[in-house]
């Protein structure tokens, strides 16, 4: 089982997204005429010792690249999501809803939120694919 977060976990999530018919179908227009890449900043706590960055390049319902980064670097993603490891962990486990986290402002998302509203089904499918495989977690 992959440890969340790790490159092995990124590879599993990428496969899960690309093999999920809901992601492929609902995301077919995602990122075609706007930058649809995400940078996740996972802040420490609940077993995570330092801030981790995860970059996901997604276009047309397919994840082209998903990798851990040492820092934000020069990436200027379409969507920048910040949240604590303690808040991301229940989403990855499938216990909490990612969109609820956005509405509650547990996760701060910067980017064209209108695109998120217009593609809410895709965002939900993408978030559901996170919990479609088993993982191990830090601090447990």
């Amino acid at each position: 089982m992959a440890i969340y977060p790790s490159q092995e976990w990124c590879d599993e999530w990428k496969d899960a997204m690309n093999n999920d018919p809901a992601c492929v179908e609902t995301g077919k227009n995602w990122g075609l005429d706007f930058p649809g890449d995400f940078l996740f900043e996972i802040t420490p706590g609940s077993g995570l010792d330092k801030t981790h960055y995860m970059y996901a390049d997604i276009k047309g319902g397919k994840c082209l690249e998903l990798k851990m980064l040492d820092s934000q670097g020069d990436k200027k993603p379409g969507f920048y999501v910040t949240g604590s490891y303690g808040d991301f962990k229940p989403v990855v486990k499938g216990e909490k809803d990612f969109i609820e986290g956005i509405v509650r402002a547990l996760f701060i998302m910067k980017g064209d939120m209108g695109k998120i509203m217009r593609n809410a089904k895709y965002i939900r499918a993408m978030a559901a694919s996170i919990s479609s495989f088993k993982n191990e977690y830090l601090g447990e």
């Binding site: 509405v103 509650r104 402002a105 547990l106 209108g114 509203m117 217009r118 809410a120 939900r124």
Partner: protein, 120 residues
């Protein structure tokens, strides 16, 4: 470019709707419907209980976290229904009739005011 006045810190619901509102304020056709309206609309995500208030003052629009005591109109719905409405997939009347959206207050005013978060 027009501007939505933000009062205080916005919750995630407000932040999600803000960019659509900012696009609409520059849309003369959309603004024609709401330019003369004064009043406020409270929208609540019913599953989470997070609310925002959109304040209309004859073409000037403000957005604030939470609800106000006596809004001109109020609606309760879930995020997915609000998203479906905002992208034009859901007719609000159908949403109300099917019970996906609950409303209170001046319905006619609400139907005009809520177009500020519609992006079709």
């Amino acid at each position: 470019m027009g501007e939505i006045r933000i009062i205080g810190d916005l919750n995630g619901l407000g932040a999600s709707l803000l960019s659509i509102m900012e696009q609409n304020i520059d849309n003369p056709e959309r603004m024609k419907k709401i330019r003369r309206i004064s009043g406020n609309l409270v929208a609540t995500e019913k599953n989470i209980g997070v609310a925002i208030t959109i304040i209309f003052d004859k073409g000037n629009i403000s957005l604030k976290d939470g609800s106000v005591e006596k809004p001109s109109a109020a609606l309760w719905t879930d995020f997915d229904t609000l998203a479906a409405y905002s992208c034009g997939e859901l007719n609000p009347i159908v949403g109300v009739l099917k019970g996906r959206i609950k409303v209170r207050g001046n319905l006619l005013k609400l139907l005009k005011m809520v177009t500020i978060v519609r992006s079709d």
